[in-house]
């Protein structure tokens, strides 16, 4: 069964120009114990998707349709109190910017103990747990460091602390929004390795968002490619990266000479821009930038099976079959 199963999710932001349709009919899954990566350019709705899952959305956001099933329960139908009970226990988050993640005026120990407020443990026991967790993510001398403030840690250390906090409650689902984008490459490798080990141990499902195709290839079991608020391709990392079915995915990979073992850590740039999400064009959302655009593309393609468990939203797939 899937820990997370998103079906037909649409989210819009009300803006002075009209409704910005940030997510349209998004469906995806995180199978139990698997790591699923999401790739896509900036602005394609990755953060919006996450905020809709844990229901911490911007005040001007509105869910139009869809379901977010977590262990079978539709999170969009839960009360706020039920959601709060899930956050930090069953579903945990690691955010992008480690310099902004922690409260600057409280010690790391205090923050790590505060998030255990639901546990029936003594202060000493909570502290010990925090200490063990810091040691697990590779922070030396954790006992002393619990008394320090976030500004006394480097960015890499702070992201380790964020991971420690997120995994402390052994959640069923960990969501990480570009957790290594703000770090340098060596740190990124170390942190990804540690994350993989810990995930193995805890057995949680992970939704991992990254700009870095190399990291996705290294870390993830499955990958979801998003473009301008839609899912355009899903499948195992192997299938998607070795036999991309959507021209957008192909363009991303072709821009990478070393293919998956990319040196560049930013997502490769492909010519053109994401379409205006307030005034959406009709037909295929990628048509403007697509090299393979043809007559059929004036109609919106649906997700089609490109292989076993490998789907993409492009007319070429169905045409290939029928041809």
């Amino acid at each position: 069964m899937a820990v997370l199963d998103i079906r037909g999710l649409s989210v819009g932001y009300s803006t002075p120009r009209g409704e910005l349709r940030a997510l349209r009919d998004v469906s995806m899954m995180v199978p139990e114990g698997k790591i699923v990566g999401i790739v896509g350019e900036s602005g394609c709705g990755k953060s919006t998707l996450i905020s809709a899952i844990i229901r911490l959305m911007a005040p001007n956001a509105r869910v139009g349709a869809g379901e977010v099933r977590f262990q079978g329960r539709d999170l969009l139908a839960e009360t706020e109190a039920q959601m709060r009970a899930l956050r930090g226990t069953q579903i945990s988050m690691v955010f992008q910017d480690p310099m902004q993640t922690h409260n600057p005026v409280l010690t790391v120990g205090r923050q790590m103990m505060d998030i255990q407020y639901r546990e029936r443990l003594s202060r000493a026991e909570k502290r010990q747990r925090a200490e063990r967790m810091l040691a697990l993510v590779g922070i030396p001398d954790p006992e002393a460091r619990l008394n320090q403030y976030p500004f006394e840690f480097s960015g890499g250390m702070r992201q380790r602390i964020a991971i420690a906090m997120a995994l402390m409650a052994k959640p069923a689902l960990l969501i990480a929004d570009e957790p290594t984008t703000a770090l340098d490459a060596t740190l990124e490798v170390q942190i990804i390795k540690r994350l993989r080990e810990l995930q193995d141990e805890i057995g949680c499902g992970v939704l991992f968002i990254s700009h870095h195709l190399g990291v996705i290839a290294e870390l993830c079991d499955e990958v979801v490619v998003m473009y301008a608020g839609e899912v355009v391709e899903t499948g195992s990392v192997r299938d998607v990266f070795h036999a991309p079915a959507h021209p957008y995915t192909r363009a991303l990979l072709e821009c990478d000479p070393g293919h998956i073992k990319v040196k560049t850590r930013a997502l490769p740039t492909i010519p053109g821009n994401i379409p205006d999400l307030v005034n959406l064009p009709g037909g295929c959302i990628f048509a403007d930038r697509c090299e393979r655009r043809h007559a059929a593309c004036a109609a919106r393609p649906t997700m089609a099976l490109a292989g076993d468990g490998h789907r993409a939203a492009c007319h070429l797939i169905t045409e290939r079959e029928t041809a």
Partner: protein, 314 residues
């Protein structure tokens, strides 16, 4: 933390020395000889001779300043021209009245202002927020002496809820408190509005920061997020503003003390200026300076307690 406090007190000492030196120089630069300036026109020749000798007016200026400080440190601020009592004794007799008035005013207005500001930020754009906003802006615009006069007319003269003049019987706490209500209302009212606006703005900023989102993503109760995680950051600017605002509080106290005929530094300054009693003027201004320096220092120390980054000098 201790080293921060010591550094900050050292800085305060330097500021005090500079401020007092300028005060000294200003008195010396007033046209005419400093002795008649300081003693006023009604001084007797004996008084002039005594002061000239004590101030060492034949010595170079720097030595004179040194002497002034030496006297000051011994608690010798000169003699009242009329009563011939030590200035330090006269001023110290008045300082507590002003201090109590200012502290009570700023305390109630800070508590109320922080509460209203937090409420406004959390219930942003609600009816309560809008009302608080309108009221805040209106009270900010009203000067303390206007509030003094009107509250005196309404609550003391017409309704007779509160006494109109004085500071209450010595030793009778209830009576003194009763006498404090209207003056501290006058001084604190505009601060309520000011602090409410300030706290609202910084609270909104803090609530939008990443760490608040983290706290929410861990399911922390909203109360704890607001009061334990956000407020502490949101009041940092307010603490600084109150520390620096001591100057405004002092000048508001001057007007208020006069309207309510309360004893205090303000009334002392005005009385001694009108009678050209310069040693007392100097003494009062000196104490106002000390209060100001102490309050900014205290504000910095409070901020350092609240924010470890300030402690570390980051």
């Amino acid at each position: 933390m201790l080293s921060f406090i010591f550094k900050r007190i050292g800085l305060a000492a330097v500021i005090t020395i500079l401020a007092v030196s300028s005060l000294f120089l200003i008195v010396h630069m007033i046209p005419g000889d400093p002795v008649s300036t300081m003693l006023g026109p009604r001084a007797t020749p004996e008084m002039r001779a005594a002061l000239e000798a004590r101030m060492g007016l034949d010595k170079p200026l720097i030595a004179q300043i040194g002497l002034f400080f030496a006297n000051m440190l011994r608690g010798d601020l000169g003699m009242d021209v009329f009563s011939n009592r030590p200035v330090s004794e006269i001023v110290l007799g008045q300082v507590p009245y002003t201090l109590v008035l200012i502290l009570v005013s700023i305390t109630w207005s800070a508590v109320l202002g922080i509460a209203l500001g937090s409420y406004s930020a959390i219930h942003r754009n609600s009816l309560g927020d809008r009302l608080t906003g309108i009221l805040s802006v209106s009270v900010i615009a009203v000067p303390a002496f206007v509030v003094s006069l009107y509250s005196l007319l309404i609550f003391a003269v017409k309704l007779q809820w509160f006494p109109a003049i004085g500071a209450g019987d010595a030793g009778n706490w209830g009576d003194q408190l009763h006498h404090l209500v209207l003056p501290s209302l006058a001084i604190g009212l505009s601060w309520v509005g000011y602090i409410a606006r300030l706290v609202r703005a910084s609270m909104l900023e803090v609530m939008g920061e990443g760490h608040i989102r983290t706290a929410r993503a861990f399911g922390l109760p909203e109360r704890q997020i607001v009061f334990g995680y956000a407020l502490r950051l949101a009041i940092l600017p307010t603490v600084t503003v109150i520390g620096v605002g001591m100057g405004f509080l002092l000048s508001a106290a001057v007007f208020t003390e006069i309207v309510f005929s309360r004893p205090g530094l303000g009334k002392l300054v005005i009385d001694s200026i009108t009678t050209r009693n310069y040693p007392v003027v100097m003494g009062s201004v000196l104490f106002s300076t000390l209060i100001f320096v102490a309050s900014t220092t205290l504000a910095d120390i409070v901020n350092a307690i609240l924010d470890p980054r300030i402690r570390a000098g980051k």
